[in-house]
């Protein structure tokens, strides 16, 4: 009996000769299909059934009539959205938040990984533990901390401002402060965590390259520039595609927590609007239409980012 090539040795060696027999092959893998079954069912129910339900964007959905019984209305709800008075504000707010988050949040983790790679191992370990901590805090707690720390009466930030003789500022009610609060609290929470992937990539750097470069008299900065950065570049590109593919999305969870009546003009984004119109006001078809449109734009963004990076760097998702 040969032991190599038994990747498919689930089957008896005798059967191996008939591997082209698909049915037998499937039968031999029955245990693996069974392992996939829970995932298959979960995705079918909670991902694919809702995709079927997305047709209510083109229907006038009434609960009493059901999905099939509700009448078709074509693109009525899409038109309604584009004719609504706040449509462009929503789009502008969404892109402002996501592009600002991207510009602030994308380079910092790379910088952290590159610089933290240069300090002693013990300090690096300690710094990593500390930098990852905010990632494990919930959004509710994060929002609670932001609100408390920025509070004009009890907040420590305002206490510091007052200590230096300034006036206390009610940050949460200033529309002009909302985007900065949202973005930089996000950087605070996730920049450290997002550097994990670059640490992993940096661990693949060949030490021999550094040794050779040192022999040739390269300085540390030169070695980072010519060895470390090129090594992690494919990872940077992949992360770039994934992030760029998300540019049309701003999740509702954090925005809803930081939103209040006073900053609504800049804090209302597409996802929060979908939530309010859909869940709170039961305008099911209308908000499904907005959500669907947002989703399609996302997919287009992802494909464009993937295509561009495939052209420029020969690294792409698919």
């Amino acid at each position: 009996m040969k032991t190599q090539s038994s990747l498919s040795a689930v089957s008896l060696p005798k059967c191996r000769r008939k591997r082209q027999n698909l049915r037998l092959n499937i039968w031999n893998h029955r245990f693996y299909y069974l392992m996939l079954l829970p995932a298959f069912v979960a995705v079918l129910v909670f991902s694919y059934f809702p995709m079927y339900g997305v047709q209510i964007a083109f229907k006038d959905y009434k609960g009493s009539l059901g999905l099939a019984g509700s009448p078709w209305v074509g693109i009525k709800y899409f038109r309604d959205f584009f004719q609504s008075y706040n449509c462009w504000t929503l789009i502008k707010n969404t892109f402002a938040l996501s592009i600002y988050s991207f510009l602030a949040g994308f380079p910092i983790p790379i910088l952290i990984a590159l610089l933290l790679n240069e300090v002693s191992v013990r300090y690096k370990r300690f710094a990593q533990t500390a930098l990852y901590a905010p990632h494990f805090i919930s959004l509710v707690v994060l929002a609670g901390m932001i609100i408390a720390m920025l509070s004009p009466s009890i907040g420590s930030i305002n206490a510091i401002i007052k200590m230096f003789g300034g006036q206390s500022i009610y940050f949460m009610s200033k529309p002009s402060a909302f985007r900065h609060i949202y973005v930089w609290s996000g950087v605070w929470q996730d920049a450290g965590w997002n550097s994990v992937i670059y640490f992993a990539a940096l661990s693949a750097v060949d030490p021999q390259l550094h040794e050779a470069a040192i022999m040739d008299g390269a300085s540390k900065l030169q070695r980072i520039w010519h060895i470390n950065i090129p090594t992690i570049l494919p990872t940077i590109v992949i992360m770039f595609i994934l992030t760029a593919g998300q540019l049309a999305t701003v999740g509702q969870e954090k925005v809803l927590l930081l939103q209040n009546d006073l900053n609504l003009d800049v804090s209302e984004v597409i996802s929060t609007y979908v939530y309010k119109r859909g869940i709170l006001h039961a305008n099911y078809s209308f908000s499904t239409a907005i959500g669907l449109m947002n989703n399609v734009v996302n997919v287009v963004f992802l494909l464009i980012a993937n295509w561009i990076s495939g052209k420029v760097s020969e690294t792409s998702l698919f």
């Binding site: 990747l7 829970p38 500390a130 009466s153 661990s203």
Partner: protein, 279 residues
């Protein structure tokens, strides 16, 4: 000559790295230290802005109030339930699926991978999911809290990459010794996958522990609320009435997670993440 000049500039750069990282650490740690200090300080000191870094007027009154609050305790119990059951379900759906998808001989492997990956990029959206949950009778049940995020393809890809990078010889040996794939998976593969399981448990548990949005949409009865939804009410919706216990409650709700992750931290980079971003 040049060698010494270079090493001097290297030294400068090294010092710059230390300074940069230290300043970064101060920024990251400050809010956490502040909340902790405020939680054990005299509320009057906190309210008048006297607490800036270190505790002033030590008291555990805030913690006493937290543990007397019935809503918080119910929320805590609910969250523990959702986290334990939800994490188990997540593991059952995600880890074996990753193992099966790592098997290159599996007929239909590509098709199945596409099936699982499409929802990463395209989803029905909030409202169709909400209507579906209503339709199948899971609205306002505890079950929806542990089922709605039962499967996560991103984590499944991490599992698949991990199993794919395992040496194939062990599996082969087990199969030749007469193990069924189930036995191979449970007796040979899983005991060798402690790093992966540890990271997966952490990721799933943290997500279950920290989520509030699903609960806000799918739950109506207050006695089913997880901790985060109770916190939202206290910390975000009625900010002023709760200054007394708000810092203590932040500490009590975040501490379990903050204590656990350093134990798994060494696995974060250790190959678990490598190559996993790319689908």
């Amino acid at each position: 000559m040049t060698a010494t000049r270079d090493s001097a500039s290297d030294r400068h750069f090294r010092s710059f790295c230390y300074v940069f990282i230290t300043i970064l650490l101060l920024f990251v740690m400050y809010p956490l230290l502040y909340v902790f200090s405020a939680s054990v300080s005299d509320p009057a000191m906190v309210a008048s802005g006297k607490v800036i870094l270190l505790p002033k007027g030590f008291t555990l009154e805030g913690y006493r109030r937290v543990f007397q609050d019935k809503n918080i305790l119910t929320g805590y119990a609910n969250t523990i339930f959702y986290t334990v059951v939800g994490t188990l379900i997540n593991l059952i759906t995600t880890v074996p699926a990753g193992y099966a998808l790592a098997r290159r001989t599996l007929p239909g492997r590509r098709l199945l991978t596409v099936y699982f990956m499409i929802p990463m990029y395209f989803s029905g959206g909030l409202i169709p999911t909400f209507l579906l949950v209503n339709q199948i009778g899971l609205y306002n049940t505890r079950a929806i809290m542990v089922l709605i995020y039962a499967f996560n393809m991103y984590y499944c890809i991490i599992c698949r990459t991990f199993f794919d990078s395992m040496p194939k010889e062990m599996e082969e040996a087990a199969i030749i010794d007469g193990c069924t794939p189930f036995q191979t998976f449970f007796r040979v593969i899983l005991p060798l996958s402690k790093a992966l399981i540890g990271v997966m448990v952490l990721f799933f548990a943290v997500e279950q522990w920290n989520t509030y949005f699903a609960a806000m949409i799918y739950l109506r009865d207050q006695d089913k609320y997880p901790l985060q939804l109770v916190l939202r009410k206290i910390l975000v919706l009625e900010q002023t009435s709760a200054e007394m216990l708000s810092n203590a409650i932040i500490v009590v709700s975040s501490l379990p997670v903050l204590i656990i992750y350093p134990f798994v931290q060494k696995y974060f980079e250790q190959g678990v993440m490598i190559g996993s971003v790319k689908g």
